[in-house]
Symmetry: C2
Subunit: 363 residues, 2 copies
């Protein structure tokens, strides 16, 4: 796979972003949704900020009070045996490291704008800040689907009661309408298709079940984008492969002659995040046609390998111009980068499902 | 709380049900949905069957092949160190007892009918049998909501990819229409309200999040019963109380002058399942008015304390006649029982939320 990483990478780094208040510091500007508006590329950054701490014995955890809209900063002692501080992103109860009780940072969404798609100017203020009880730990990993004149923005809403996916919409990138939580916990990595298919809207989503099952990709349908159902299992983990740990949708599905092309992320069981692709039937996106045996993008550049959480490439959006896929992606859970790939080359790299033949696809 | 348990309890036991094939045995006839049709009480039993095993060293696990509709019986050696057989209901991978890879029985839905609500005749054949890839481990714990002339039946659909909630409908208790999975994994204990409220359908549901949060009760809305959204957190676990382990909706919400009365189950952290009640605002069921400090029904009778999984009372449906609530419930995860309670007494036993005053309620 020929991958052209921009010379300007990383395009946005935490140092480029001013914290929204003086006693916080920006530790991540990553996993941005991507779209175009008024001739500009809009990069809707997930900005992660943490309370500045001068005492290494204290870990701080920011929590929104949904009643007042104010942030409360919890202070926990690193020596407190009741908690586990081994993951820099989360605070867990001792003995239960897979489930967190606090996050060490709070994420919100902020706009960066660019004429050329390489040089970005970051807005002074947050665009969407956590605002209700389902967002008290922050909002993360936005995606943007434009349908007619409306931009639908959806993101992980994180709070002590779970991680679900919420939807807002905007027409002018100034005013937003909240449309509620569209996928109940535990769910993230939702991708709404950019047009109706056979009269229905479709979305990929990624439940994280507890009693049985794994973090895998499902598909649902809707007739109004607010309410979703007819949930079906779409693709799963693959033992021994690059996506054997967890998978989830990445960019908004791209319509091609061969089918809907979804650029998705897969993590190995040792948490190396790559991007791959899956091709879905144009008329029935619940039908899988072909899938990447190997990643189309792997963490290799310095800014992808090293960072807040290294060995991660994680796309939440791409722009397509002819054969060129400009895949924007979060690198190492702290900054934003972009790589160009050939749409044809991605399609030709896929391996068809048993019994499927697609004219023009080699495998 | 005055509780009148029927003298005939348990009303249905596993021994009353013939297995659907000779090489299986019925181990449970419990957690039934309840409704009335053509002058009869319909008890839609969850029947759990397991393959008969003559070799105590072998544990069998039934799995539906969704392609053929046939059951495959897996045979696992009890000495196999790769698996954990400590829970009689499930088979887990060693070292991961909280997540199962097989069930030891397969559940399906079967009708029992009664004129007096006490003496039931069980149909010869299953009414709804697992029929697709999301049901390959079985279907469980049905509830029934009648809206106009249609009975909506919804149940936990269990498969290796997770436990979600699926919906079917019937008008005549002979033909059913499948309406797809309405709540994605992990979710169960869905309760659809029996009428629209301010133009929307509502349902309680019970996600089981993994990364953060607990098995607690949420509420969602819909305009067609197939697609659901605007998910909101409703009520949670209460530390130190009878419902500090897991909670979930029980019977279809009962409309009263004081509000929507939901009879829900709560389990303590040591897995003792009781029934309690919560009262929701008539016009806005996302608003909690009052809740039980103490259970309204606790496992006390012999058939509730001892059984396949003892110390469980678990209602999936009730019939209301004037002030009498006939609460049907699964006992000890193997049989069905019924108890009558006074609606007024339940309402008067509730403790109002801070700031809420309800005329006629004492607390």
């Amino acid at each position: 796979m020929n991958v052209y990483r921009y010379e300007e990478n990383p395009l946005v780094s935490p140092g480029d972003v001013t914290a929204h208040r003086d006693d916080f510091e920006v530790i991540g500007a990553f996993n941005a949704g991507i779209t175009e508006y008024n001739g500009e590329v809009i990069m809707l950054l997930r900005v992660a900020e943490r309370p500045i701490s001068n005492d290494p014995a204290i870990v701080k955890a920011p929590v929104l009070d949904p009643e007042t809209g104010e942030l409360t900063v919890m202070e926990l002692n690193k020596e407190d045996p009741a908690f586990d501080f081994s993951d820099p992103r989360t605070i867990s109860r001792a003995g239960n490291p897979d489930s967190f009780v606090y996050l060490t940072s709070l994420s919100y969404l902020r706009i960066a704008r660019s004429i050329d798609g390489r040089h970005f100017t970051i807005d002074d203020q947050p665009f969407i800040f956590p605002s209700n009880e389902l967002e008290s730990f922050g909002i993360e990993d936005p995606r943007i689907t434009k349908i007619e004149d409306t931009y639908y923005i959806y993101y992980s809403a994180v709070s002590p009661v779970g991680v679900g996916e919420s939807l807002v919409s905007t027409k002018d990138w100034e005013h937003i309408e909240h449309m509620g939580m569209i996928f109940a916990p535990e769910n993230k990595d939702v991708l709404i298709f950019p047009e109706k298919i056979n009269g229905k809207y479709f979305a990929l989503h990624r439940p994280v079940p507890k009693s049985t099952g794994a973090p895998e990709i499902w598909i649902a349908e809707s007739d109004n984008l607010r309410y979703w159902g007819n949930h079906k299992y779409l693709i799963g983990l693959r033992e021994g492969m690059w996506d054997n740990g967890r998978i989830g949708g990445g960019a908004v599905p791209i319509k091609t002659e061969a089918g809907w092309l979804e650029l998705y992320h897969g993590a190995s069981s040792d948490n190396r995040y790559c991007m791959g692709a899956v091709l879905l039937d144009l008329n029935n996106p619940a039908k899988v046609l072909a899938r990447s045996e190997k990643p189309i993008l792997e963490p290799e550049a310095e800014y992808e390998v090293n960072g807040f959480f290294g060995n991660v490439v994680f796309s939440c959006g791409a722009l397509v111009e002819g054969d060129v896929v400009k895949m924007y992606y979060g690198a190492a859970d702290d900054s934003m980068a972009c790589a160009e790939l050939s749409l044809k080359e991605i399609l030709n790299s896929l391996t068809c499902e048993k019994g499927v033949k697609i004219p023009g696809l080699i495998n």
